[in-house]
Symmetry: C2
Subunit: 466 residues, 2 copies
Amino acid sequence: MEWIEELKSFIPEEQIKTTLADRHSYSYDGSFGEYLPDAVVQVKQKEEVAAVLKLANMYHIPVNPRGQATCLSGGPLPVHGGISLDLSQWPQHVEVFPDDLIAVTSPSTRTGKINEAAEAYGLMYPPDPSSAHVATIGGNLAENSGGPRGLKYGVTKDFVIGLELVTPEGEIIRTGGRTIKNVTGFDLTKLVVGSEGTLGVITEATLKLLPKPPAVQTLMVVFDDVRTAGAAISKTLTSGILPSKMEFMDQACIQAVENFQPAGLPVDADAIVIIELDGHPETIAIETERVQDIMENIGAVKSTIPETEAEAAKIWHARKQVSPAIAKIKPTKVSEDATVPRSKIPDLMDRLDVIKEKHNVEIVVFGHAGDGNLHPNVLCDKRDQEEMRRVELAVEDMFEAAIELGGTLSGEHGIGTMKAPFMEMELGEVGLDLMKRIKDSWDPNGIMNPGKVFPEKGQKLVLRNE
Amino acid sequence: MEWIEELKSFIPEEQIKTTLADRHSYSYDGSFGEYLPDAVVQVKQKEEVAAVLKLANMYHIPVNPRGQATCLSGGPLPVHGGISLDLSQWPQHVEVFPDDLIAVTSPSTRTGKINEAAEAYGLMYPPDPSSAHVATIGGNLAENSGGPRGLKYGVTKDFVIGLELVTPEGEIIRTGGRTIKNVTGFDLTKLVVGSEGTLGVITEATLKLLPKPPAVQTLMVVFDDVRTAGAAISKTLTSGILPSKMEFMDQACIQAVENFQPAGLPVDADAIVIIELDGHPETIAIETERVQDIMENIGAVKSTIPETEAEAAKIWHARKQVSPAIAKIKPTKVSEDATVPRSKIPDLMDRLDVIKEKHNVEIVVFGHAGDGNLHPNVLCDKRDQEEMRRVELAVEDMFEAAIELGGTLSGEHGIGTMKAPFMEMELGEVGLDLMKRIKDSWDPNGIMNPGKVFPEKGQKLVLRNE
């Protein structure tokens, strides 16, 4: 292909991969589907990104940016071929400016490293997706990733105050800046964060940091009934206490983790809620007691406080192991993140029970219960076409349930390829059209990450192999 | 005019005002300039807004939405005539959903009422612009208003999770929803908030609430030197403590308030910093002591703690009186809100001193020092053309200084008419063009609030009468 030859005139040859083996290793992410790119281009500086985008824009070649490809919604998949733009090889770099309470980072920096760098100054970068040790901040920015601490602190978007962005036409711009307050024109920063790589390529981000709370306290609360757990979560959140984390695991998740990497979780419990409170030691001592009272009054079986930091860390590690652990149960897992208003969590749990029965599928549930963001995972086998048809129907019912309960298709994983067919159900025709107008005005040739977010004509959810 | 007659076919006649006296009362806001609308239309429901916008879009009539017109940047001014769309007569309505930690409000509701409604459930709506008792939430949403509590809690945008919007073409859409987490497509909510009425008319908002902290503590710290005050603010903020408010007043502001409504402020102080800490009583007792230590170590003359709640309220009332008080000193005040990274506050103060000398203008300074958002106010007399020319040059220098220090033209007042000429200086040609593309794609006939945000060809800052 002519354009691949042209690429070589400005990108070092070792950063361009075109063998079938290389293209195969860039054909998938943490979600569904496999699509071969025509070429992989590893970029390491903004000028390279700008040059690639200018060329792609001229030849109308799709550009599919990716970091570590842990994405659960298909964001990096080259569904229309073209270029896999790999930013994971960019040098990791994060600089903390403690007096301004900000950090400036390269797109490839692993999210966990940013928090580590902040902690060296007694600060913190709150967003903590479970993949923080491996995923890049660039991917987090594209997908607006969440995580357990989202409950108290908010998601990625809430901590981004400035970006350097290469536009679909290959121009380098800056949005926002280094100030906490900024109302100079439209908020392009928050428009680009979460736009799933459809509006350009982020090459640098300025992130807001917070003082790190002096202490944290973990609690594990055991329930013999899922609905009671939901009610206890609601009750706690309306008591005036805002925990930093409030995570839910059902019995299947608990057992999966114990089979995978035993952590001493109560395998006979119907559900557990793991809570973290942060703040001053005096305050969290009082709050811990109040949370225990609330939970027990509403019917918790028991609540336990880990005696050492190591024990607490073990519980949180177990929570992070849920995803890999349940992946061992059946060959395929379809991970959802339909989200409802906090008070509707017990209702969502009831709806999930009905869906499970109706379509005869295996669903396990865990997630960020405190902010209404559960992760129902359907465990299945993608080689079984008949089962996958039932899974498709179950997933459709989940989306419908979430929207009927006043919620949304996606709380933190993004729309990507899988949920695009359901966008109009949530946004309406006009709302979706207004998003499309923005996209078209920035990317007239449609080169940036095509096939994501916006449904293609007649597109349906397909989890079966074609 | 034909279109005014047509308006009467679907808007009750008493809601349409066309007398010269009526048009005059809608010709100004809290900023500069007077422009007559052709007609005033008071709307009270979304269907009326949709019908007005459909008509205006057909006839290409400018539509200038306004709430209580307390705007400090010219947002509501009908600079190209057309319709003043008055939303202040819409019924005030706010409903709190305590289990979901949200409130749903009509656009006309006074911002202070929303916080009152939240407090009835032990919750709070943090944004607290000084005009909260009179300004509408609709205006706050259009301008993305801040306020003292922005330091800890963020600005209006950080608390909006859903909108009902009438588009420039008269369609009614919903953005976002009732969930805290939502990554379904582009974030139209955060795009519209702060877009100064250029992308449509907001007819309802869903706002996030927080548990109200059980206690607050006010401190007043006195300095005999402005730069030391700046350094003390920086030092406190990097100590791990995040006060809910941290406000600065220079000597001229202190004296103005004492002349206007005596509050017992120290009139001989060079500057004062007023701080509020919130949280659990045990925690704020410890934090109060630490803040006092930090401030005194760095050179504060003294710090005082009000003995009663009434005394604390008096101090905060005095802070709110700064704006009206300084307006008594000279006939005209030009209120700026150039914002810099927190650490650059002492530098900004130095630059303001230089600008004051250079252009021989009177500048007083107060504002939200904790987040780098100062309000330098130039006191002048708009009838004095020669003085106003100097004021224009001083304001230009302020913008330049803010941007050179890594800051922004506007932290919370918005761009409106006055700052539009400086947009390209901050955003660059491409950045500004990308904003304009969004605007044009949503509002192809350019009817929504024209003359705001985007500079017109050759537009310059003009504070003199034409």
